[in-house]
Symmetry: C2
Subunit: 322 residues, 2 copies
């Protein structure tokens, strides 16, 4: 008899089941027992139809390796990069599995995700979590890696003047990560309590009305999650500056593109990033993600967890599979 | 009595006058007698209201220096960079007058332009034209500089695979300039005769139906002059590749931005460029701009010249002020 497990599914609607067959790792994959999984805005977008995904959702997790061919990983606590590439194309050979045209992505594209008691991932996707990092911190490795991706793509220098638009999870993580690379980072947001998290990390904060709409920033990170964010960013970045586009918004947006040409602005789309710098920052307490946890819910209260994650003012909501 | 001159004006409508007062050079400026001026698509956009400019239009020219404080320039044949900066701000001090917030721009912004018998420009904007370069070639220095701006901003390497969208003047100049930096340049266009100009320079050419819509190009230059070009470019550039946006289109455009984020594409706006590489390429016959001249018209037939410039299939139309 096939063993079954608890899982959060999206199949036309959000479902919480207990009879999902346990996954079996393919060659080169590990079976991971999930400890904690995080709810990301991308999961909420998937529930609206983003990526057309059907299956177990979730891509942020920390877990224990139960089965795999590499003894050194057995029983270890791990996090995992979410994109599984073909291993043979130009992108994979350059270490850019996350752009492999044939990739699957945990809980997003062609691969069951992390909101379940078990998941499988290729061994090369796994990173052992340093001992000093709590489960509730380790689960931030994936979104924090996405924040470090900005510095992978854009040369942020110590004297760069940076504006992060948006005080949600990704905005705050991006600001914390960029605060390691340069001295002048401002978070632009609408929520006093969220901006307070940034302020406690010695980042500058501003609410929209209080920010001079001058084209003064070398780098503007658009992490508002809204369609109109890019146009606003083009009015805040300096000529020849860079806008980093983090928000994925489904559907079409009305835009005036001429400022990009006239001011020779660079717009860089930015998605998943490298895990090693994220784990190192967590282990060294270079960033503090703990204030970003809004609540942790057991699987039995998963529906409540999703309601909480969707609620205005919420940051990271975690599902506990222990 | 103030001397007057012939000039092409835009003041609510296009006007051809003979009684425009001659300009007087300010301190640090030269008085230049125009030999030939070119009609650019930007001029056509200005006639539709772009930049809200009123005055003498035109920013592409070659002329003779008649008055200036530097003896070495008197009587010399020159072309001129079109942006005049304040000379004191950060951009000007970095040699980026073309991004000075207080700049004027010849025939575009706060400064009378080149379609007249005389113009004035700061001495530092002028470049002496090498003897072997004909007037009808030298007048391409400005748009060819805009083509070289692409390599100023984006690291095009010898093995880069480049697609230039658009077989108009700027598309063809961009393709010729990029053909010096890398071996694999394709011009995508709809006009057999224009593509033939590219083919004669050993550039690849393709018509829309014949091009595989694969995401295969490292760099895609959007020079179609249309609002929808960027969206098409996003479907042709490879993941992590670069789209260079050259088209300035007035007004808003409907766009789906998510490919930028998912494929981590860099979109770089590109405007005016450096004159020295353009003049060097003309002098060394590294590019051949002569096939791009559709016709040369005296001032007396300037209205006809504009009609010709607007006509489908036209490339560069020149106004002769000799």
């Amino acid at each position: 008899m096939t063993k079954t497990m608890k899982a959060v599914l999206f199949e036309d609607e959000l479902r919480f089941v207990r009879d999902r067959p346990m996954p079996r790792p393919a060659a080169g994959e590990a079976l991971v027992r999930v400890i904690v999984a995080g709810i990301c805005n991308t999961d909420i977008e998937i529930l609206k139809g983003y990526m057309g995904f059907r299956g177990i959702i979730g891509h942020e997790f920390v877990g224990l390796v139960e089965e795999c061919a590499e003894e050194r990983l057995l029983g270890r606590r791990v996090v995992g990069e979410i994109n599984a590439g073909c291993g043979r194309c130009d992108y994979c050979l350059k270490g850019l599995e996350r752009h492999c045209p044939a990739r699957s992505a945990l809980g997003i594209l062609g691969r069951d995700g992390a909101m379940a008691e078990y998941l499988t991932l290729p061994l090369r996707n796994l990173h052992v979590v340093p001992d000093g990092v709590a489960d509730e911190e380790a689960v931030f490795a994936e979104p924090l890696a996405a924040a470090f991706e900005i510095s992978e793509q854009v040369h942020v220098v110590p004297s760069s003047r940076v504006l992060v638009m948006g005080d949600g999870k990704l905005g705050l993580l991006a600001a914390m990560a960029l605060g390691l690379a340069c001295a002048d980072v401002t978070v632009l947001g609408k929520h006093g309590d969220k901006l307070e998290i940034a302020a406690r990390r010695n980042l500058k904060t501003a609410m929209p009305g209080a920010l001079a709409m001058e084209r003064a920033y070398d780098v503007v990170v658009e992490a508002t999650g809204t369609a109109g964010g890019l146009q606003t960013a083009l009015g805040l970045v300096r000529p020849r500056g860079t806008v980093v586009l983090k928000s994925t918004v489904a559907g079409a947006t009305e835009m005036n593109l001429s400022p990009i040409v006239i001011d020779e602005i660079t717009v860089v789309g930015s998605r998943c990033g490298p895990f090693a710098p994220a784990l190192r920052a967590l282990a060294g307490r270079l960033v503090d993600v703990r204030p970003l946890v809004t609540g942790t819910f057991p699987f039995e209260r998963a529906r409540e967890a999703f309601e909480r994650a969707r609620r205005k003012g919420s940051l990271k909501v975690l599902l506990d599979f222990r």
